[in-house]
Amino acid sequence: MSVFVIAYYSLLLIGSSLAAYFNKRSIFILLFSLTMVSFVLGIIGGSGALVMVATFAGLLALAGMVSYSFREALIMMAGPELAKELRTAPLTAAFGMFVIFTYAITGIFAPWIAPYGEAEVISNAFEPANADMLLGADQLGRDMFSRLVYGTRNSVGLALTATVLAFVLGAGAGMLAATKGGWFDQFMGRFADVIMSIPSLIFALLMLSIFGSSMPVIIVAVAIIYAPRVFRLTRAVAGNVVVMDYIEAAKLRGEGTGYLIRREILPNSMAPLVAEFGLEFCFVFLLVAGLSFLGLGIQPPTADWGSMVRENATLISFGDITPLIPAAAIALLTVAVNFVVDWMLFRSSGLKEQ
């Protein structure tokens, strides 16, 4: 029984008694179940396991507090309409927004944040972390932290560009197909079917093997692969809008297809499209990360998370977790976007389960 164990349990017990006294039922259940889990794990794994549980719970609590304050800050800054919406956001969504915000800042201000350049060799290969290098050096002696910061810009930027292109192509074609109908609609639908029946990673590999892997090729390839998914959704959503009376009225007024799409259909199918954008971004981001992990994405020396994992993977067999940090960065952003999308879907579709 060390001081840590005694302090840990007494804190938990005091916390749960306080919660019980003030009738905060959910907090009490949370704290009490944490105590119970700690008992079991402490008996099995000793105080080492307890430290792990405590760190994990502490991190979770920290994330919760950060998201809570971030949501409050957003509510303060936003106008009354938006603030009302934001108040309904669950903590997970607030956490997602916070992470996205942090990534955006890191990506935009990368050269000011990173202490060294992304391709700058400053020490020996695999040098451990010291005061100069927060995370140590990579396989060529470049600063891992700087590369991580630049990677935000490169990896996320690439995925974002590809998603936007896929969206412009897919949504444009979808709305055109919905308004035009007829053979164009049929043809585009069948075309989308064919592309979607090739697994995305395989199709990407095929295109990269033929056109070589450079930034524009990756962007176009990924956009071609994901545009049909956007097309399907847009076609379905816009199909419901096109049959409305106000579209009929606009047509009778003599408006052209361009006006119909821009001013009538697009605003009325915005909500599901925004949520879809988040989802597609996750898929695209994971695909691009997978490609660069396979050594076929952004080419060196440009810093990129997927290839950073691959290049430093040997460190894992020595029990070092540095190569996992870029992979965790990928996972964290995808999780964050998913959290926000989950909330938006719930809000826009009225997906209220009984």
Partner: protein
Amino acid sequence: MGDILKLVGQRLGLGLVILLVISIIIFFMVELLPGDIAQAVLGQGATEENLTALRKEMGLDKPAPVRYLQWLSGAVFLDFGNSIVTGEQVSSVIGQRFMNTLFLAAYAAVISVPVAISLGILVALLRNSIFDRVANVLTLTSISSPEFFLGYILILYFAVKWNMFPAIASLSKDMSFGELLNRTFLPALTLVLVVVAHMMRMTRAAIINLLASPYIEMARLKGVPPLKVIVRHALPNAWAPIINVVALNLAYLITGVVLVEVVFVYPGIGQVLVDAVSKRDFPVVQACCLIFAATFILLNLAADVGAILTNPRLRHPK
């Protein structure tokens, strides 16, 4: 019975047509290459004689449609020509490795399907409880993580720190079945983690969708206990969506397998594909892509057919 056969036949025909279109895409995309394959293989410095010789050897002097038909008729009998880099027969390179990949996917499927479906039903039963929320966050995290992240975490803990399973899945012919299962456990577990999360969420959504229907409400108002409502009333109708979910996720395994094989250096077809792409070995790339696409389509077809067989309403389309 006749109308079912007809419907299934229609689906199979549609699948064949799609496969044919995909084979055309796969073949003719290589034709889009600036210059031609011979130029790409030998590089810019190649002499004219070398180019002509290689073109002759690969049959590039014939027009593209003729070569496509030759390639396709070969592919039907699993003859995909020779590799550009090593000169070996593509089918002999791929054959054994394809079986390895199928083994890995089957291993993952056998573990994940029962686990995912029972967990999915459990979560649907306990919906909106703390347990459901936690499961939601966990599955979302698992789906959002790239496969290599999960794979390396498993290597770090199970292989390096706790020394329980080997980190590299090297296979040899004279291994016992238990040894084989042990060696391939970590790659299979990586796939299981991703697929279980997907399957659980889809099963949950399917069941909850069903639970909103009036006849379930009726059963509940009659006073039927919750577990019985699920097992006797909801589940028979839930089979169709669940079969769909399983088949779709098995199709998902096909892509996941490529990254996992590279992480664990597993001798499967995904590894071959990645190597061939970086060496620009087109016959191998084409063959692997065709095999992956065919498997993908087959599983999607299975999902369709399964849905038709278990849901009588689909048998009489309006």
